[in-house]
């Protein structure tokens, strides 16, 4: 039974010693992102993101449904991150928990930060709304799934086009995509996640951890920002405690990094 093998002691020791000298095992700088490549499919709403060797595919689709009874004027957005069995022959519980982490992060980053205008998804209040479904498939896991998945999801949402609707009182006509050009979604801002990993007693830090760094980390922290340098979310779940100076430093580094990521997102989205 092939389980997800933990890194050997030699590997983690080497990693720590290199970090103590300010070097990373893959030759990057401490604050360097791996190469980021965003490609869109021929259908709008399909985006594949490659961050180093991590490869994530996001697919957005829509359907007309009834709204939630307590939110009759809002559309619904559903997120589903799946660690495809392409990542490991037998996906065990540690990998499954990563799936849940990615899904929760996407919900916080995209739904709770009010990035998507759900009121614009309403067709007939109380009866018909659009339900958006964002399926994120993780094709290759080489560390830092959260950042890659967030970029893939927001790019796919911005590239997605839903069918045009004309509402006349209580009746709505949904136009076929061949009769009327499909329209883009209403997205308020573009949140981007920047993840850090900590080692040793929490004093050593890296940006955009690789798989080995992720497996050897003692703490991790994600800053979510948008292009206006506003902090949308801070996520620290478990691990060794961090000082507030470390948190501030992480946020400052993230502010500096978000520009280059945003540039790539703009290129991919304004096609």
């Amino acid at each position: 039974m092939v389980a997800e093998t933990e890194p050997s002691n030699i590997e983690t020791q080497f990693l720590l010693e290199a970090l103590q000298r300010g070097q990373r095992t893959d030759g990057r700088g401490i604050y360097d992102y791996r190469s980021l490549k965003i490609t869109g499919g021929s259908t709008p709403g399909l985006v594949t993101v490659q961050l180093g060797q991590t490869r994530v595919m996001a697919r957005v689709s829509c359907a007309v449904t009834r709204p939630y009874p307590d939110r009759p004027t809002e559309g619904i957005v559903q997120f589903n991150a799946e660690l495809s069995s392409l990542c490991a022959p037998h996906v065990d519980h540690t990998l499954r928990s990563q799936e849940v982490t990615v899904t929760r992060m996407l919900e916080r980053v995209l739904r709770q930060s009010r990035a998507i205008d759900t009121e614009a998804l309403c067709i007939v209040a109380g009866h018909k709304v659009w339900t958006l479904r964002v399926d994120v498939h993780i094709l290759d896991h080489a560390g830092n799934l959260v950042d890659a998945a967030a970029i893939a999801a927001i790019c796919a949402l911005r590239r997605f086009r839903r069918p045009d609707v004309t509402v006349d009182g209580e009746t709505a006509v949904i136009h076929d995509v061949r009769d009327r050009n499909p329209v883009p979604l209403s997205i308020h801002h573009t949140p981007v996640c920047v993840s850090f990993a900590f080692f040793g007693a929490g004093e050593l830090m890296v940006l955009d951890p690789s798989l080995l760094e992720e497996q050897s980390r003692v703490s991790w922290f994600t800053v979510t920002l948008n292009a206006h340098k506003e902090v949308c979310a801070l996520n620290k779940a478990g691990g060794v405690p961090l000082t507030h100076e470390q948190i501030k430093r992480c946020v400052q580094i993230a502010v500096a990094k978000v520009d280059e990521i945003n540039e790539k997102i703009q290129d991919a989205v304004n096609v």
Binding site: S42, R55, S61, L86, D135
Partner: protein
């Protein structure tokens, strides 16, 4: 009746493939026919669960994931189709008590997805270096409402068809298909016509696959020098 994309009845869509994109799997292939794009990753031979262990050959497992939503029974059907096709083609006796896991992920579906899955699987198995008896390629034909037959339908063409037929053939030149799936109402003449059309389409697909694999080997040997 003209086709929406102005193709001839016997014309398949433009084929495209990329081999070896993924790093964790042993072999991978992304196969596209027009707007239908399928990614296949293969692990093998790897450790097998005791329950599935076979003493004299490899256990073949297929996982098929759609692009939108969670897997349903339709996807299980494709899993079964791919597994039964490749159980005969993979030389499992060379790797007893191991597992060959075929993972198919649909990136974009625009008709003929099961045929694309079989094609992607062949290429991924070759990329992984898993011994095969032959290369297998598949094609889909549909009989339209005016009883004309077209090959490699898009989703729109398949939805309005009277019957759909998917055939897979190996490159061993025998006159027996490796996989057959026919649905709908059709006559035996229509079935035979679809059979012939698919065989021609499969020949072209196999030639394309061969070129793709040759290109990959050439690139590898050149960079090694």
């Amino acid at each position: 009746m003209a086709r929406p994309d102005r193709r001839d009845p016997t014309q398949i869509r433009a084929l495209h493939c990329v081999l070896g994109q993924l790093n964790r799997v042993d072999g991978s292939a992304q196969f596209s026919a027009g707007d239908t794009s399928v990614l296949c990753g293969v692990y093998g031979p790897v450790d097998v669960k005791l329950y599935d262990e076979k003493l004299d050959r490899a256990h073949i497992e297929v996982k098929f994931r759609p692009d939108i939503g969670v897997p349903t029974t339709k996807d299980k059907w494709v899993e079964d189709a791919v597994r039964s096709t490749f159980e005969r083609e993979i030389l499992g006796q060379l790797h007893p008590r191991t597992l060959v896991q075929i993972n198919v992920q649909v990136c974009q579906g625009d008709g003929s997805v099961d045929a694309a899955a079989i094609n992607a699987t062949t290429l991924a198995l070759i990329d992984a270096g898993i011994p095969l008896r032959a290369m297998v390629a598949a094609a889909t034909c549909v009989v339209r409402s005016d009883h004309s037959i077209i090959v490699d339908p898009t989703q729109e063409e398949a939805d309005s068809a009277l019957s759909t037929h998917t055939f897979a053939f190996s490159n061993l030149q025998t006159n027996s298909p490796a996989y057959v799936d026919s649905r709908g109402e059709f006559s035996i003449d229509e079935y035979n016509a679809c059979y012939d059309m698919c065989m021609a389409a499969v020949d072209r697909t196999l030639a394309f696959m061969r070129t793709a694999v040759e290109g990959k080997i050439l690139k590898e040997t050149q960079t090694a020098l």
